[in-house]
């Protein structure tokens, strides 16, 4: 499998630009593994990304058609390409700031339209590339370069946002659990309609070191330990869910019903 995955990567793209401890490499591996296990042809795939660290996951790493667009605009670029050539299997991979802040309008409208594409949000809860500014996904109280006394604003729950907007497949799985993540990505890719996967991914450089994670290992361990499967979360009350990351599939198409 590893050999197969290396063939899906542009050799010129190395060394990878990601910082030590960044979760995006795990996500990149999970996406490629999902495609390899599904035996999809990379020549039929189109990867679209916006601006930021996560946007560099497909571009220039992936040996496929990639479209590295403007900040926040990956989804409408993908929409145009998919509408004109419906044979393309379109996957958007971008960050939380890109997809949900500057690009939030496009995210909800693509979900509303049930555009046939997979959107993967590499969610590190921070603006990494530009120097660790607060994002629309940063937890309350977190220290960032623009919230030196702690973030006062409530973060988006992106899964709830796209679910309410009409997405027909919605899931969350962090990079800390790469095997379930790969399984969920496969489900998202084969789904016909708008599929969204929120992938919490640690940023030790810009988030961790300002928020009491001494190492990348500590950060990824804490992320893993804070995960609660969605089925289990249903039986817990809000106080018990404080600070937890609910993971799993939130919206699934009917088991046998075909396209919703």
């Amino acid at each position: 499998m590893n050999e197969k995955i290396f063939q899906m990567i542009n050799p010129q793209a190395f060394p990878t630009p990601f910082c030590p401890g960044c979760g995006h490499g795990i996500l990149m591996g999970a996406v490629l593994r999902a495609i390899a296990e599904l035996e999809y042809d990379m020549k039929q795939m189109l990867f679209v990304s916006g601006i930021g660290c996560a946007a560099w996951i497909p571009s220039p790493h992936f040996k496929a058609d990639t479209l590295h667009t403007l900040h926040g605009r990956a989804i409408p670029y993908a929409t145009g390409a998919k509408l004109f050539n419906s044979k393309l299997k379109v996957m958007v991979i971008s960050g939380d700031g890109d997809l949900s802040s500057i690009g939030g309008n496009h995210l909800i409208h693509a979900a509303r339209r049930n555009m046939d594409m997979t959107v993967v949000c590499a969610n590190n809860a921070i603006y990494g590339m530009t120097g660790g500014q607060v994002a629309s996904t940063t937890p309350i109280g977190s220290l960032t370069t623009t919230t030196p006394k702690g973030n006062l604003e409530r973060p988006f729950d992106l899964c709830k946002l796209v679910e309410a907007s009409g997405a027909t497949y919605v899931a969350r799985q962090p990079v800390a659990t790469p095997i379930p993540l790969t399984r969920i990505l496969k489900n998202a890719i084969v789904h016909r309609g708008f599929s969204f996967v929120d992938v919490p991914s640690p940023c030790p450089t810009q988030f961790g070191r300002r928020n009491a994670f001494r190492t990348a290992y500590e950060m990824i361990k804490a992320l893993k330990e804070s995960c609660i499967p969605v089925e289990k979360a249903k039986s817990l009350d809000p106080a018990e869910l404080q600070g937890k990351v609910i993971v799993g599939e939130f919206v699934k198409p009917e088991e046998k019903g075909g396209r919703p």
Partner: protein
């Protein structure tokens, strides 16, 4: 420019049509098969016509959530292989500006129609203006070279839309149809010919999609799904699309080529029309709807014995520098009526020492022939 003939989408003949509708017909005739738009006065009629026509010819239409979405999906569709278009007015151009810059650096062919209305900002949505002539040229940050054509009739709303597609595909650039509310909502005769001349995208598998051997070349353009492993990015990139964000030689080569691929071949684009200029002493320069009044004004002045002549700009960008300098040599002064505060009058001064007299009007009304005659009488040296 190598054009080839295809059969017109509309049966040949005479039509009574609105300017905006003629623009949509021109797009269909040129082979446009993707349209994304957002409602805005006075351009919405183009979008409404496109819904019906694209469904008839097997194209794709989408009404996006905003103009940013419109230009973005147009660029995405263009890379998927479509001749693609959007239409809007000034406020929409403002929102699209970042995307226009992206189309410039990624060399994405697309047509953007700007049916200008009175600004700034929301201004007067139903009133004509020509206030965007500089915006379409200098809107995006960084240098760029685009094509802008200014129709003065319903016929040209059709003809110049076809040309805009040809220039967009020929040079791999965003090309503008710089109309205004008056010509967009005008209804008059449109003559459709049997054949249409179109330019088809240059393909050469195996060659780099973002660079050529020549410093002024236009590279071939593969589409998504053709197996080219395309790397399209708005960052500075090498001929294969790899990001080179700290390489000054790559940046220099790319930015020079983006300008020269149009500038060095601008004679293919530049189109002007001379009326009574052979013996003219008083020059009038106008474009778009205003040129109709200017032509009438020149005729009136001639009847009075004033040797006036009109140079009409059919294309505005790249700027027709040589035609301007010729006009300057011929005339003692040049009057420039335009529905803005003298944007093109100012540009003229770069290319001629002959006195340029701006006749601006920005009250949301078109300029009439009598006003131009009056101003010329009053201001003549």
């Amino acid at each position: 420019m190598q054009l080839h003939k295809i059969k017109s989408a509309l049966p040949a003949g005479w039509y009574f049509m609105q300017g905006d509708e003629a623009c949509a017909e021109g797009a269909i005739a040129a082979g446009c098969r993707f349209y994304a738009g957002y409602p805005i006065t006075p351009a919405s009629e183009i979008m409404i016509r496109m819904v019906h026509r694209l469904s008839e010819v097997g194209g794709v239409f989408i009404q996006m959530e905003d103009e940013i979405g419109s230009i973005s999906s147009v660029i995405g569709a263009s890379w998927a292989g479509a001749k693609a278009m959007t239409a809007t007015s000034g406020p929409g151009i403002s929102l699209m500006t970042e995307g226009i810059g992206y189309a410039v650096i990624t060399e994405t062919p697309c047509v953007i129609v700007d049916v200008q209305r009175a600004g700034p900002s929301t201004g007067q949505a139903t009133r004509p203006a020509q206030g965007d002539v500089m915006q379409v040229k200098w809107g995006p940050h960084g240098d760029n070279e685009i094509v802008a054509l200014a129709p003065w009739s319903v016929q040209e709303m059709y003809d110049l839309t076809i040309k805009a597609f040809n220039f967009a595909e020929r040079f791999r650039i965003p090309a503008f149809l710089l109309a205004d509310e008056a010509v967009g909502h005008l209804r008059e005769t449109l003559v459709v010919k049997k054949d249409v001349e179109v330019f088809d995208r240059f393909k050469a598998p195996g060659l780099p999609p973002f660079g050529t051997d020549q410093p002024n070349g236009v590279p071939p353009m593969p589409a998504f799904g053709e197996g080219a492993n395309l790397l399209v990015t708005g960052s500075t990139h090498d001929p294969w699309g790899f990001r080179k964000t700290a390489d000054s030689a790559v940046q220099a080569r790319l930015t020079e080529r983006l300008i020269r691929k149009v500038q060095d071949f601008k004679s293919e684009v530049i189109e002007t029309e001379s009326h009574f200029l052979e013996d003219a002493e008083v020059g009038v320069l106008a474009y778009g709807f205003t040129a109709r009044a200017a032509l009438q004004a020149v005729k009136t002045l001639r009847k009075e014995g004033t040797k006036a002549g009109l140079l009409r700009l059919v294309s505005i960008w790249p700027f027709p520098d040589e035609a301007i300098s010729e006009l300057g040599k011929r005339c003692r002064e040049i009057f420039v009526p335009e529905m803005n505060r003298g944007q093109i009058a100012g540009e003229l001064k770069k290319y001629t020492r002959t006195p340029v007299i701006s006749l601006p009007k920005t009250n949301g009304e078109v300029i009439g022939p009598a006003e131009i005659v009056e101003e010329i009488r009053r201001n003549r040296v």
